[in-house]
Every structure is written in structure tokens, then in C-alpha cells.
Amino acid sequence: METAAPSNPRRIRAIAPVIVWMVLPALVIFGAVYLVPLAKLVAASFFRDGALTLSNHLDLIGSASFRDIVLRTFKMAVVVTFFTLLLGYPAAYFLSRLAPRRAALLLLLVTVPYLTSILIRSYAWIVLLGPTGLINRSLLWVGIVDEPVRLMFNMTGAYIGMVQIQLPLMIFALYAPMQRIDRTLLNAAQSLGGNRASAFFQVFLPLSLPGVLGGSTLVFLSSLGFYVTPALLGGTGDYMIAQAIQVRVSNLADYDAASAQGTLLLLVVVLAFVLLRRRLTDGISESAAPAATGQRVGNGLRTERMPEAVAQRLHPFFRALSEVLTWLRLPALYLAMAFCLLYLVAPMVVVVVLAFSDAAYLTFPPPDYSLRWFRAFFSDQRWLSALWFSTLCAGLAAVLSTLIAAPAAFALVRRRFPGRLTLYLLLISPLVVPRIIIGVAVLFAFVPLGISGTPIGFILAYALVGVPFVVVLFVTGLRRFDRDLEMAAAGLGATPARVLSTVTLPLLVPTIVSALLFAFIAGFDDVELGLFISGPNATPLPIRMLENIRLEISPQIAVVGTLLFAALIGVFGLHLGVSRLRGLRRRFAKKMILSGTPPRPGAERGAKP
């Protein structure tokens, strides 16, 4: 049934200002701390010593070391994308076969690492991959190797760490579309004579390709801007472009070159973003149907690539192969899922165990256990003030980004207006534009305003990177929202404001909570922005941690990780508890209503018909 599309001009005029008000706050903040500074960054790259020139770019392109950096960065992004896909696809397939309730439990095991700070995860890999780390010692003990393998401070270490960091993103991107694939199609394929493996390859795999493309795009783009993991786990010479930019700005104060490098990286990301926009706007585009693939000719059968004689010769072989695969399918799936979970969760476990170490230095497993590092943390004013600073700024930023992004998401989902898709892409772009570049941009924006190194600056910057999460979550939540409920409420006599407060918002509570949580974490875990805009009186926790990791690798970081971890589990527990409690309250609702006791005092003041 068609729902109210504004069809007569009178209503369009009435609605237009509403859209403006819904979108304006997000646009203003994005313009001030993101778009204009980025434009300045790009513009700056065309100047050297005050003169308009292309020499910044030309120098870069001509420089062999920069070419190496670019190639290395691309190769790294490709390799990381490949491995996350390789590991993530079977895991997502496994999860999509489970009943939603069970899948939710396993997805939680994927989500918790995803929400854990990249710093902490990279730190855990230092513990695991070192020459005397758990992995090397296991290898030695089993006898696979005779001397410790060099797993860290080279590309191997960087890959292991980055794949672990990107894996949850890939699994999420694959899981949702896989879950939507109609399973009866697989049964149909089998009843038509395919075994399970061929049903998978002929039916499921092609249908899951859009998800593969979407997930790979996301992972590839966000890998291009990786900073923390390569900086901590990679070799000293293995610079990625993000590190190169950071060094230019922070250590060399070479803004011209940094602008040029940033501009080139930005160009690549924006280009990929624009080319792949269809994949990324799936969330809000109207036509879910695949684009018409052009005029089909012939009898409607695809032309086979193989000559018929060869195909017939090979058929028994493929048949046998797929029988074997059918047989191996389940064990292989379980194995893949188990490996993924181990890979994702092991670093977390290491961090928690390490936090209780009694040793004065980093060694795993700890020789003895104590709370000394917890005591050290709570007695060190620098740690505590950093924690407080981060919590405060990220908290306020989460509220701010929800306040500006939620109305914009409402407009995106529920209204039709020119530039809708562009606005959506703009609002989610901080997710893929490398943080380092955003960092340089906000630095450029804040210095003239005098808010670099102040809480205000951090709140604005954190809100900026929180917005994409709020937008994506709200768009998903609103699209799933059954608008009949709002119509029903209006039909039963609720004013538009009442509909919002009694039906729409209560049903969106889970969305609001996740939006706040994700926006908070986006700011709280940030390292790159902090690198540029922190100051003597404004040091967020991740910057404090980075300094600590660089100066002395001690179990201190593990304590921070464990505390954050506990907070995260606390939030999940609270969430679970609240929904339980709500269920209980409902059971009493009838009694309260029917006995005339107010269920929610003063909650019912409606419009008369």
C-alpha cells in the first residue's frame, strides 16, 4: 500500500521547512569541522610558500619513497581485505544458518572485540606475537620450529593484527544480506538434483555477492587509512601512508607535503566511495531490485565458457568433488567458525589475564598474580584524568552526534528531497575517510578558533566520527519500523507529537541506546584525532596509552583494557537486565490499568477528538 507521499503542492510547501530543520544541525557541524577544513587541506596542497603550484603533488608522485608507501598501503589493504573475506565468509555463513537467538550470542563474541579499542587489541598482539610470546612458545614446544619466528615488527605482525581488527566489520557486512537469502531456494536447488555443495555454489554464493562487494569495499577503504596497528606491529621501515602523513605534520611540521599526501589519499578514497556508492546506499535506496542487466539475447541460457565435450568429460569429476565438499561442509564450517572466534577472542583473554600480573615487566603467562597494576592505575593522577577526560568528551559527543544525526536520519528515510543520497554519503563518509586526514582537517579548523587542545574541540571532533554510526543505526531502525503503527496511533486520536512520544520513540529505544553506545565508542577509542588536537590540558586516554606503549611495554595497558572491557560487559549486562525488567513490569500492567492505578503517573494527557 502506498503511504502518504506528499502529493499536492500545498503539503510540499508545508513540509519543506521541516526537512531543513531536520538536516541543518548535522550540515552546520559537518560544514564547520569537516567539509570546509577538508577543502582547506586540499587547497593548501596547491600552495608552496604562498604561491599556487602543483609542485607539492608532482614532487610526491616523483618521489620513489612515496611511491613505495602508496604501493605498500594498497597492497596491505588488498591483503587485509582478502584474508578478512576468506575468514569472514564461512563465519558469516555459519551464523546466518543459526536461529537468530543463537546467532545473537555468537555475534556478541564478534561485537565485543569490535568495540574494544584498537590500541588494546594491538597491544595484545604484541604480547602474543613477540619472540617469547604465546604463539612462538607453542610453536617451539610442538617442535614445528627450532627458533622463535619473527612475527612482529614486520608486515606479518601488521597483517595478523589488522585482519583481526577488520574481521568483525566483514562478518557484519556479510551476515545481514546472507540472512535475507531465502533458504527455501537451497532446498529447491536440492530437490532439482543438486547436492548441498552445488546448491551453495550455484545459488547461495551468487546471491551473497552483493554482501561480499559491500563488505570488501568497507574493509578495503578503512584499511587504507590504518594508523595504529601498522605503527605498533609493523616494521620500522614499513610506513603506511597514514603514518607518513602523521610524521609530516607532528614531527616535521611540513604542512605542504602533508596536505599533498592527504589530498592524494583523500582522492583515492573519495573516488572509490563515489564509484561504489550504490553498494553503500543500499540502506536508503528505493529499488532493492538489481539494475537491469541489459538486453538478453538468444534462448535465455547463459553461454557456457567451456566447450561442451570438455564440460561433459569434467562433469563426473565436479560431481565427485562437490560430493566430497558436501561431506566436508559441516566439519569445515565448524572449524572456520571456531578459528574465527579464537582469533577474535584470544587477544581479549590475554589482556584480562595480563592485567592481574604481578610482574614488573611484560611477560605471558604472568609468573604470579596480584592487583599491583590496578593499584598503580588508580593511584596515578595522569591515568585517572585521561580516563575522565575521555569519558566526558566522548559522552557529550555521543549525545551531540545523536541529537544532530537522528533527525537527519528521519529525513533521509521518511522524506524525499533532492540530494538525499548525497547527504547520506556525506554523513557516513567519516567512516571511510582516513582518520588521519580527518585529524589534520580538524586541526586546521580548530587552531584559528583556538579550540585545539580543549574539551570543546574534542567533543566536536568525536561527534563528527560518531555521526556515521548514529545515521546507519537510525536508518536501519527506521526502515524496519512498521509505519502502520504510527498510522494506527494517529487514527486512534494521537497528535503527531503524541505519536512520536508514545509509539515512535519508545519503539526506537534499542536504536537510540545502540546509537549512543557506538557514537561514544567511536570517540572514546579514537587515537588519530587525539594525535593532532590533544594538548597539555587535554589528553584523552588513548593518547596516554599510546605514549605508555611506546615508552615501556608494561602490563599497565592491560589494566586499562580490562577496565574498559568490564565497562562494556557491564553495559551489555545492564541492557539485558533492563529488557528483563521491562518484561516483568508488563506483567503487572494489566492489574494496574484495571484497578485504576496510574501505570505511568501523568503520562496520559492526550488531545481530545
Partner: protein, 368 residues
């Protein structure tokens, strides 16, 4: 029997709800074109039509979720068009019920009362009465998801009736239920209608549902009213070929006008030698039309054994207990007949039979 029922009836003065000249365009496409109809107080009216006929659009416009492109909608003489949905005071049961998942059954039913700022004691009492009306007294504390489809349907009905609206709209209310439950709910809906006496408009694509529930039916197709009348009028004297085929079953056979006298028109079925003389009263085509459709319900076709090879040939018979369905081939056409089973004991596939069209039960329509 009146023949002009397919014309929108000029709404008599006592009509409670009046729709006049209603049209709805989505860009260039027209969903509903110039519809007028009236609903009397206490009446149960069905809007019947295939999907895309515009029936839901019309319902949404009455509820206030669609603005008319032109035309007016009035209740008791007052225009609704400028009123937002929440100020129309019209009850509505949605196709998928639209029960608020975060509220209990009782809270759902109390919702419209709270919006009207009713005293709590009164709310409690009204909720209880509404629950009793739909026989769900014990279910007030449940969440909608803890109810079966039929129970959810009844909660939706109770919620839409509890604030005693002057008009209740039902959008395919039984569409999501299985066959047995649907029949039960039909009975219950009819009983509730009789008890509360609220004026109701029911949208459905199921002709059986419309025939058994409604006092009057408006048949819609292509955004226009094809016919508006009582179930018996629609069944016995369809106004056009669409209604003849949509309500019940009709054989529609192309025919040519041969001649007419004062009381009847004779037509010859194309490709055969059969001539049928149809009484003037059964003619739903302009006198100038020469290409016509002869409409005859299967039960109005008589079969008699024939020796000649020129008549109809039995293709297949289906035994239904009391009746026998016979599929026949008559020249280029397939004809469906339904005869009392005892009259058809000798019929077998391949047999030639004589077809008789009862003139009084045959109708002539404009060929479309």
C-alpha cells in the same frame, strides 16, 4: 431489479459518510478516478476489488492518510479533507493489525482513551468491556506477540471500537488468517456489527467475504466503481462483464446482435449457430453496440443429450456431490455448466450435448 445501479447512486440525504467526485493521482498515474458513494448510518459497506483497484487508496483517504487530489469526503455533512487523521475520530483495523508491540493488550486498547484524556477509572472499565466484547477478558496483560493471529485480530478490533467511533474502517481484516479462522471471524465480525451498530467500511478482495458480511458492496476496478448495490443485486444483475465475472462465475461468450423487438434482443454466438433471445431488462449494453458478450452463470445453463454433431462436446466432468461441474467445448469456446448431479449421470467426456441458455438468466454486456 434496477439496472442503473452501476451508476454511482446520487447519495440520499440520510447518508452518514459521503464521498463525492473523489480522485487520487500519484504523479501521472491515477489510482482512483471520480468515485462517489454514500454509506448509511449503521451500514456495513464492502469495497471489493482486485489489487490495484483503488479500494485501499479510498480507505486511506477516508482515514486521512491520503489527501484527495480532488473531491470531498464528508461525515454527517462535515468535510473531513482538512482534518488530520487524529482529529477525525474514525476507528481503523489494519491489515497486519498494527498492535503496538511495546504495550500490553490492555494498554493497546486504552491508547485511544488516554489520548482523549479520559478518567482512569473509566478507562479501566471501558478496556474491560472492550475485552469482553471480543471475548479476550483474560488476555489484557499479554503482549501482542503472545497472542495468536485470530486473537491479535480481535484486539485490533477492540482497540478500534473502544472509543466508540462513528465509523470503523477495516482494511482486509481477515486476509492474514487461515481459512477456518477466517470463517469464524466472519461470523464474529457480523455479530459484533449487529451488537455495536457502528457504521463500517470493509476493504477486501475476497468476494465471498464481501457477499456474506456486507449490507452493500461497491465493486471497484481500475480506480472506478463498477457497481454499487446489495449482494443480491450484484449477483443477480451484474452491471457489466467485469462484475459478472468477479462476483461468482460467469461464462462470457462473444456474440453478434441479430435483431431486436420491443421485449428482447436476439444475438448469435460467434462461430456457432446458436441464437439466444435476451429480455430487454437484462441488457447492459448500448443499443448501438453490435459486438456483445453473452453472460450466463454455470447454473443457468441447461444440458440435454443430442444426436447431432454440431452441438457442444463434453470435455470433462467434476462431481461435487449435489452438483456436477461440466466443462464443454462449444465451437471455439469453453463453457462451464453446473447441473444437479442426478441429471448428469450419463455424461461422459467426448459426448455431444445440446446447450440451452435460459433467456431470463442470460445477460448482454458490452464487449471490452
Amino acid at each position: 431489479m434496477t439496472l442503473d445501479t452501476h451508476q454511482p447512486t446520487p447519495a440520499p440525504a440520510e447518508d452518514y459518510l459521503k464521498v463525492t467526485g473523489f480522485s487520487k493521482f500519484y504523479g501521472e498515474t491515477c489510482a482512483v478516478r471520480d468515485v462517489s458513494l454514500g454509506v448509511r448510518e449503521g451500514e456495513l459497506l464492502a469495497l471489493l476489488g482486485p489489487s490495484g483497484s483503488g479500494k485501499s487508496t479510498l480507505l486511506m483517504a477516508i482515514a486521512g492518510f491520503e489527501a484527495p487530489s480532488s473531491g470531498d469526503i464528508t461525515i454527517a455533512g462535515r468535510s473531513l479533507v482538512e482534518l488530520p487523521p487524529h482529529r477525525r475520530g474514525i476507528g481503523m483495523v489494519f491489515q497486519r493489525y498494527a498492535l503496538f508491540p511495546h504495550m500490553t493488550v490492555a494498554e493497546n486498547i486504552a491508547y485511544p482513551l488516554r489520548r482523549r484524556n479520559m478518567a482512569r477509572r473509566e478507562i479501566a472499565q471501558r478496556v474491560q468491556e472492550a475485552l469482553e466484547l471480543v471475548r479476550l477478558d483474560a488476555f489484557g496483560a499479554r503482549l501482542p506477540t503472545q497472542l495468536s493471529g485470530g486473537q491479535q485480530q480481535r484486539v485490533a478490533l477492540a482497540r478500534a471500537l473502544v472509543f466508540q467511533p462513528g465509523l470503523l474502517l477495516l482494511d482486509e481484516p481477515l486476509g492474514a488468517l487461515d481459512r477456518k479462522l477466517r470463517q469464524e471471524m466472519q461470523t464474529e465480525l457480523k455479530q459484533i456489527h449487529q451488537r455495536v451498530g457502528t457504521t463500517m467500511i470493509l476493504v477486501t478482495h475476497d468476494q465471498e467475504e464481501a457477499l456474506s458480511l456486507a449490507d452493500r458492496i461497491a465493486v471497484l476496478d481500475g480506480g472506478r466503481i463498477q457497481q454499487f448495490g446489495t449482494p443480491a443485486e450484484l449477483y443477480d444483475s451484474p452491471a457489466n462483464a467485469f462484475v459478472a465475472d468477479f462476483i461468482g462465475e460467469s461464462n462470457l461468450i462473444p456474440a453478434k446482435r441479430m435483431g431486436a423487438d420491443g421485449t428482447s434482443v436476439s444475438v448469435k454466438l460467434n462461430g456457432t449457430d446458436i441464437v439466444v433471445s435476451v429480455p430487454q431488462a437484462n441488457i447492459c449494453a448500448a443499443p448501438s453496440d453490435d459486438s456483445l458478450l453473452l453472460g450466463a452463470r454455470p447454473e443457468d445453463i441447461a444440458l440435454s443429450p443430442s444426436a447431432s454433431e454440431t452441438g457442444a462436446v463434453v470435455v470433462q466432468t467434476n462431481y461435487l456431490g449435489a452438483m456436477l461441474n461440466v466443462l464443454l467445448e462449444l465451437g471455439p469456446y469453453q463453457i462451464r455448466a453446473r447441473i444437479p448431479a442426478r441429471l448428469g449421470t450419463g455424461l461422459t467426456a467426448g459426448q455431444s450435448v445440446e446447450i440451452g441458455f435460459t433467456p431470463e438468466a442470460s445477460r448482454l454486456y458490452t464487449a471490452t
